[in-house]
């Protein structure tokens, strides 16, 4: 009786869950199994315990990629959201056709496949005659080899990243802005709040839940950054990360260890270390949210 009553529910989720179990859960679990094995995907796996994990954590590339990832996230997530928020506030200040035009323009980069973004920006960053350097030239400044200077590389990536993702977040924040009742602003204006004070005291707090979504989603995807740095540095499975490994990131290192060095056990272990980091960061975000909700 009990089961019969719930049967329709299980039938409806069955196709999804079946596919999920076969093509996600099983691979994840088998990946987890292989992470404790020396495995090149061909010969039978050889159990090595935690050796893969130890090896990765001890390796120079791991430290480097984690350091890069940290730097990247600390800048790109807040900056990206700040830019998106700025754009959203800007668009919100226009009405009618122009609001549409600007909103459409800012969203355009989101539509491009990401390999294109990286390819185009490689040319813009090119030394001497690249567009950016041409502009520096107008002001009499010397050419900078943006993508080959260990100091500037990560910022180049961040710029491309912000360029490509700001539009997406802008749209979400814009919707959040529209949901803030205008009465609040009117009340604040009657209280004598300046435009800036209105943003700080009304807009930002009222955007709280939306910002939470944007930040959490941004963090999760930033931790998996792969194709943009891969293409900006012209990486291949044998050499990746760019000069001085300045654009080496965990997923890149993982792919290199897999398809370059053919150590898939190690790559799987790497993947689970990264997964662990993502789960921890996400959990932290939720803890922070419930903490701030309680206050």
């Amino acid at each position: 009786m009990h089961l019969r009553r719930h049967l329709p529910h299980y039938l409806m989720i069955a196709p999804f869950m079946l596919l999920f179990a076969i093509f996600f859960l099983f691979p994840i679990l088998s990946g987890f199994y292989y992470s404790f094995n020396d495995w090149n995907a061909v010969q039978p796996a050889k159990f090595v315990g935690l050796a893969n994990y130890q090896k990765i954590i001890a390796s120079r590339d791991f430290a480097r990629s984690m350091w890069n990832l940290g730097t990247y996230i600390v800048i790109t997530v807040p900056l990206g959201i700040l830019v998106a928020l700025g754009l959203a506030l800007l668009v919100d200040n226009f009405t009618g056709r122009w609001a549409h035009v600007f909103r459409g323009a800012y969203f355009l980069p989101v539509v491009l496949p990401s390999f294109l973004a990286a390819t185009i920006w490689r040319w813009i960053y090119a030394p001497n005659f690249g567009l950016l350097n041409m502009m520096l030239g107008w002001f009499g400044m010397p050419s900078v080899n943006f993508l080959n200077n260990t100091g500037s590389m990560i910022y180049c990536l961040i710029a491309v990243d912000v360029w490509a993702s700001a539009g997406f977040n802008m749209i979400i924040l814009l919707a959040g802005l529209k949901n803030i009742p205008t009465e609040l602003y009117e009340a604040a204006r009657l209280d004598g709040a300046s435009k800036w004070q209105q943003i700080i005291h009304i807009t930002i707090p009222m955007l709280g839940p939306v910002l939470f979504f944007v930040v959490t989603y941004g963090l999760i995807s930033a931790m998996q950054v792969f194709d943009k740095p891969w293409l900006l540095t012209g990486s291949s499975f044998t050499t990746y990360g760019g000069r001085g490994n300045a654009l080496l990131f965990p997923v890149m290192d993982m792919m290199g260890r897999g398809f370059g060095a053919v150590k898939f056990g190690e790559a799987a272990a790497y993947g689970f270390l990264l997964t662990l980091a993502i789960v921890m960061v996400t959990a932290l975000m939720f803890v922070l949210r419930s903490w701030s909700d309680r206050r």
């Binding site: 090149n40 120079r60 090119a126 050419s143 080959n148 499975f237 060095a261």
Partner: protein, 424 residues
Amino acid sequence: MRIISKLQGGIAGLLASVALAGAGAASAEGVTLEYWVYSDFAAGDALALQQQFIAEFVAKHPGVKINITGKGDDDLTAGEIAGAASNTLPDVFMNGLNVGAQLASVGALSNIYDKWMAMPESFRAQFNADAIKSCTPKPDKMYCLPYTGFGSLLFRNLTVLQKAGVDTSKVPATWTEWFEQMKKVKAAGLYAMPDTTMVFNSVAEIYGTTGDASNWGIDWATHKTRIDPTVMTKVLQKFIDMVPLNSGTSRNDQATKDLFIANQLAFHVVGPWVDPTYKQAAEKNGLKYDFQLVPGDTPDKHGGIKSYEIVGVSPGPHRDLAWEFATYITAKEQMGRWATLLARYNGNAAAMADPKVASQLLITKSVEAVKYAVDVQPPYFVGTVPSCYLATVVDIAAATADGKYTAAAGAKEMISQLNTCLAE
């Protein structure tokens, strides 16, 4: 537009041929061989010739079908490793010597030593002995047949050199002469060289101007680099010297070709594959260029690197037939036609010596260049060169050029880091 048609026309042709072959297979019982090549081998004229080889081979082996598939460099490797893992390897496939060790380690390449030895002496003698040695890491282990190859050449933009007041008839015979010319180019406000510290291959090319095979590569027995500190010191000094002269783009960048064509860049050390692009520019935009051997420290020495693309056979059920096909396409006849059509050097020495082939300047220069050049990542098929090895070489070269190390300190640091990397 000719180049496009040459290269990409192939994909369409390829599909057509697959379809045709599919239609034919219905009546023929038997075997289908999957044959994977670099994407530029499966496009345009190159594809047409490959198709002809296939047709000839199939004519002698009725009932056999061969599918040719083109893939980009990295895709080829990923596909072959994935294929090995899932037991869906192509029967015959190409790749670079430098990933040979990986492919052998996952069992994608079968040991063809017995089959090789079973071939008549006349066949075996056709090949470049060095290339064969690269495929044979141990006396009884052989994993590949050499296919196309290259030795780096020095492409010279004559217009730029003339503008800089360099006598273009005087090909630099030594590094010193060459460097003098570079400085003149710079003085004329133009770029002398691409940045040679940006990719491993160009670092290796410059290393070749001083060093040689005896002090290059990895000693896998001790897990130590064979790079010699005194040689590397000299090489690093060259990078330091070249810093003000270079264009900031790498040897492989499209931008470098762009600068060369635009008469902004004097020298481009690279493989012969840029020649079609430059030839096209010569026809269309009046680019004046030639190619020479890369000068070394002494007049009897030359820099640059060499390597081969290889043909391997997978250990599948069609191994015998696959081997037969591999020997067919690498034999003198075919390699001669290949070289004639594309003006590309390859590992079949007999074919290279054929007068019709040797009459092509690019090939004769390549043959010569290969004689002097160092291998990119020797020795092959022994160990997988870790990515930190390649990265370290490039990073220290670049850091030294940036002034973070003196040449001597850079060399010392590089070797110690390389040994650490190999020990990991």
